[in-house]
């Protein structure tokens, strides 16, 4: 992996993908606190349709990539490392903590940035809080069950 020595021009595609994602996030309203509330109250199909169809499209793509051993642009092999289940604690406990935050803030990490772009600048505070939360996890990590 020579990713650490990426030239600036090689980063342009990632910027474009990000812009594309920010537009889709905004126009589909998944960055809306109201939409997240609607989802957790099971009162509309909108969010389920978005996540579900995103998973289906991504799953089909991954199957095609694996089946035909498609290589990345530079010619390197595409490897998707499997996630270790372990005791599973980190997934249900960490997941629950994340879910609480998702419902409060009404946004997961990607949409937080899209909201700032949309002029909801106070979300910068939420991003800083999320970085602080990540940092706190890093500090207490050795004492947490995983």
């Amino acid at each position: 992996m020579s990713t650490s020595k990426m030239g600036a021009s090689r980063l342009i595609p990632y910027l474009l993908i990000g812009i594309y994602l920010g537009i889709v996030f905004t126009k589909s309203e998944v960055i809306s606190w109201y939409r997240i509330q609607e989802m957790f109250r099971f009162q509309a199909f909108h969010m389920y349709g978005i996540i579900g169809s995103a998973v289906v499209v991504a799953a089909i793509s991954i199957q095609i990539i694996k089946k035909w051993r498609v290589r990345a642009l530079g010619g390197s092999e595409i490897v998707i490392p499997p996630k270790e289940m372990g005791s599973g604690t980190r997934y249900w406990a960490g997941g629950t903590v994340f879910g609480l935050g998702w419902a409060f803030a009404g946004a997961c990490p990607g949409p937080l940035f899209a909201l700032v772009g949309n002029g909801v600048t106070v979300m910068l505070v939420t991003i800083v809080a999320a970085v602080a939360g990540t940092f706190a996890y890093g500090v207490v990590r050795p004492r947490l069950p995983h």
Partner: protein
């Protein structure tokens, strides 16, 4: 070699743009129709597949995994502290940090050119439930009574924005991923741990929505 490639892409993009421009000029009402269409909220069957395509795009471009919350860890690593969890070369995540800056710009573009002028079209049931909790504002993407710099000083504002953000950051790293890493990339790769994490996301979300929010708002 690389410059000629870049030039090729540039010329192709300009040609595509010019062609689209000509078509939209010839078609009756082309431009207004297109802007009208783009300004509407996009339905799930358009947005979902467009988001799902990010996964193969990143894999094909450089074998990268779609996962936004890794950026929060990279930002901690940039700070260069003594904490072991952040002792790694964050530059390996530059591509991801650039992507998230793109998301911010994408939001800004949407606001500037494609903003939906109508109140958000959430279901009537959600609207009345939220009104019962005390939400009075249904314009824009978020209720500005809480999500604003003035709202930040209120109790609900602190819970929603500060505590919410903290839990998002803490939980995402503990679970090893957020909505993009687990719910989309992980489920799409049929990873069982991701399914457990997503069930956790919903457990937490339901507790927050039905138990804590009525107490806080």
């Amino acid at each position: 070699m690389r410059i000629s490639r870049l030039l090729g892409v540039l010329i192709l993009s300009i040609l595509t743009f010019l062609l689209a421009d000509v078509i939209l000029r010839i078609a009756p009402g082309g431009y207004t129709h297109m802007i009208d269409f783009l300004s509407q909220p996009w339905p799930w069957y358009v947005a979902g597949p467009l988001i799902g395509l990010i996964v193969p795009m990143l894999l094909l471009l450089g074998g990268k995994q779609f996962g936004v919350s890794a950026n929060l860890r990279h930002l901690c690593a940039v700070l260069d502290t003594k904490v072991e969890f952040f002792q790694y070369d964050w530059k390996s995540g530059t591509w991801n940090l650039v992507l998230i800056m793109g998301v911010l710009i994408g939001g800004w573009i949407s606001m500037g050119f494609l903003e939906n002028p109508d109140p958000i079209a959430i279901s009537e049931a959600t609207r009345s439930d939220l009104a019962l909790l005390g939400v009075t504002e249904f314009r824009g993407l978020v209720p500005s009574q809480y999500f604003s710099w003035e709202g930040l000083l209120s109790g609900p504002g602190i819970v929603l924005m500060v505590l919410g953000g903290f839990l998002v950051g803490f939980g995402a790293r503990w679970a090893g991923g957020c909505t993009s890493g687990h719910a989309i990339s992980g489920l799409a790769d049929l990873q069982l741990p991701s399914l457990v994490a997503v069930l956790g996301f919903f457990a937490g979300g339901l507790i927050a929505t039905f138990v804590i929010l009525p107490l806080v708002l």
